[in-house]
Amino acid sequence: MTRNLSRVLTDYGMIFVLALLCAFFSIATYSEQSPTGEAAARQVAAALIANFGKAPRVLIAARDQADETLFANKLEAALSASGAKLLAVVKGEPRDARAALQKIVSEGQSLDVIAGTRTTAAWLVFADLKAEFPTLGDPQLVQPRTEKWPNFLKSENLVNIANQIAVIAIIAIGMTMVIITGGIDLSVGSLIALSAVLAARFIRDYAGAEQASALGMTLAGSAAVLICGLIGAFSGGMITVFGIPPFIVTLAMMLVGSGLAYLLAAGQSIYQLPDSFVWLGRGEGFARIPNAVLLMLILYGAAHVLMSRMRLGRHLYAVGGNREAARLSGVPVQRVLMFAYIASALLAGLGGVIMASQLKSGSATYGNMYELYVIAAVVVGGTSLSGGEGKMFGTLIGAFTIAVIQNGMNLTNVESYTQKVVLGGVILGAVLLDSLNVSGGGNDSRKGPADALNRGTNDRASG
């Protein structure tokens, strides 16, 4: 058991880095929260009834937003029942509050209480009432008590992080396979743009633009993904048939893909898409998890099975570990490489469609530099750039690590220049930690294909 644990530590040290980062940002973003909704309304109503007698004259201020409207409605109901006199209920912007105050003054009435949420109570329109509305009386501002909770750990933020990283994490699946074979795919960023533009154009030109049906959109999206797959097949062909290094081939395809995207989009955003197109990128399905995140989890599950339970997965490791030995042991090296590049391109295409859906438009500017983030996610996740080694879930952890750092820094007011420095430092630190772990654990970092194949059977036996 202890041996197992230390192996886990060696293999998944990144989980602890991620947990550490989460803990750090939870502490750093521990701050006052402004409660809204029903509980806050009950709280404020109780305070009003207790402190301001039977019939205080009240103005309720809330923003035009689901939680705060609920707050206003519940508070209104509770106060009406208690006999308070509601002079105005504002559900909107500060200027609506000003209009309401002016109306109260013009009717010659005065006000005892302004009840609001933390946000509306901070509106400057209420800051200097004595000077601006001298005849209003001396209304007291009442707002719910704050409570402390880390912004980082709010469920909306955690969903937010998962949603933000979904595209990169999905593409990183394909990149992990390619890197495990000892290659690299630099074209994924451009393929995001190409696929987003293609999907948007197909919908605009052939599926009826804003009136496109679900079927039309599915076909348009699938066509875009398949075209990216063809480009991946072309890259794979150049690499396997002509033996051109993957770095060069995919660098060229990066330029080709980006150029094609700009040509097809004519330098514009294509935005004539139906509202329902955002279902994939922003809709929520099972258990309030966004569809893109759900798709990401399913794909990771499938990729994990492929890499650890299926022959093709073992072959990918074998090809990356020692290509010649793999060929001699009967691994169909060329077909395995083709698979990796096609899978990478297909997933990049899928990422592009998801991004188009999230942003409800397609533009050739999407995905710029994404290949680097994707590669960073894979490498942070413990996959070796020299091939033959790596795990799918490591990549998922790597992607989340990057997302957590970016999100955490946005939440803790770190400005952009510093963000880049920190992100670069953390990527380097994570990889360093990983390599220290590997050498400290006495693992030989290079494994031959036979090892890889054996490891597969061993894992199966112990799992």
Binding site: M1, N4, R7, V8, D11, Y12, L18, C22, P35, G37, E38, R42, Q43, V44, A46, N51, Q65, E68, E93, P94, R95, D96, R98, T119, A122, W123, L124, V125, A127, Q143, P144, T146, E147, W149, N151, K154, S155, E156, N157, L158, N160, N163, Q164, G267, S269, Y271, I289, Q358, L359, S361, S363, Y366, N368, I397, N407, N410, L411, N413, Y417, G463
Partner: protein, 330 residues
């Protein structure tokens, strides 16, 4: 080993997805709400600018921070790096953080719509600076920008002044993707056309070339126009980098004295060039004023005062004499 891994993985995932609690289930403690006097912290302003590589936007960001601090706001300034997906994520983070106002210069005015709508739904006011987002279905509190059309007119007057009685051929180095540059050239052309109605020797706008708003492309475009029009007398470049690129081409061709340049922007490098006589004049923009105006607009909005849909900051013409009197230039 597999089991241990799965335990760890599931617990991490749970930690990530499960243990967050949503706002409305936060403890409904029976304690009394606070009755407060004037509020001391006014909240946070979230700012996402097109890029921070360009000093123009850096100055806007710095001034929002400084002015906000003076008035009791915290600020966070991030760069969208011209990547609209990245900018969307930044805005989403601002929404989660419940900032009191969002300021942005959109990386793409179409693709940014969904996330502005999310901010609208969350009841957070959105302000745009420099680059507008005039799309249906989004609510923008106000837009602060340079009066590019007026600036273009000033550039036209500067060109007339530079060429004097003689008139002559003028080339325009354009950057057509940018709405702001279209307005600059529009204003410039109108002034030149009006001048030609009455003037004895006309100013002829012979060519309009793409400069990308960058030095290298401005250099090429100026070289090309010198090839086509050897007797060129003036160049209007839509920003400083394009103007400086054009100047380099003139120096290489030995025509630096024959052709006069009017630029736009007033970045430090451009101002220095004006001082050295390399550029005749610039209508200069005031990014510092834009930052200050944005914060003023946020305060006005929070006070419930009416805001105009657009607040234009006029440019002012900056010539050699201004540069010599400028304490910022060495």
């Amino acid at each position: 080993m597999k089991h241990t891994f799965w335990c760890l993985f599931t617990s991490t995932l749970l930690c990530l997805l499960g243990c967050g609690k949503s706002d409305d289930t936060v403890k409904p403690s029976g304690a009394l709400p606070t009755v407060v006097a004037p509020v001391t912290s006014k909240g946070t302003i979230g700012v996402s600018l097109l890029t921070l590589d360009n000093p123009f936007f850096k100055v806007i960001g710095d001034n929002i921070t400084a002015e906000g601090k003076k008035l009791g706001y915290e600020t966070i300034v991030v760069s969208g790096d011209k990547d609209v997906a990245k900018q969307s994520n930044q805005i989403k983070d601002f929404i989660v953080k419940k900032v009191s106002a969002i300021v942005l210069s959109p990386c793409d005015s179409k693709s940014i719509i969904p996330v502005i709508q999310e901010a609208n739904e969350a009841g957070i006011p959105v302000f745009t600076v420099d680059i507008p987002c005039n799309e249906p279905g989004v609510k923008i509190a106000t837009q602060v920008a340079t009066d590019n059309y007026g600036g273009g007119k000033e550039a036209g007057h500067a060109m007339i002044e530079a060429l004097g009685e003689a008139g002559g051929k003028v080339a325009i180095l354009h950057f057509k993707q940018a709405e702001s540059c279209l307005l600059r050239v529009k204003g410039f052309r109108e002034v030149i056309d009006a001048h030609n109605q009455s003037a004895a020797s006309k100013i002829e706008l012979v060519t309009e070339l793409e400069s990308g708003g960058a030095k290298d492309q401005g250099y090429k475009a100026a070289e090309d126009s010198l090839q086509a029009h050897a007797d060129l007398r003036g160049i209007f470049a839509i920003n400083d980098p394009a103007a400086l690129g054009a100047r380099a081409a003139l120096e290489k061709a030995g025509k630096a004295d024959q052709v006069l340049i009017v630029g736009f922007d007033g970045q430090p490098e451009g101002k220095q060039a004006i001082k050295e006589g390399k550029i005749y004049a610039d209508p200069i923009q005031f990014p510092d004023k834009m930052g200050v105006e944005i914060v003023a607009a946020i305060v006005k909005h929070s006070k419930g005062e009416e805001l105009p849909p657009q607040m234009l900051i006029p440019t002012s013409l900056y010539r050699k004499a201004d540069a010599e009197a400028d304490p910022d230039l060495k």
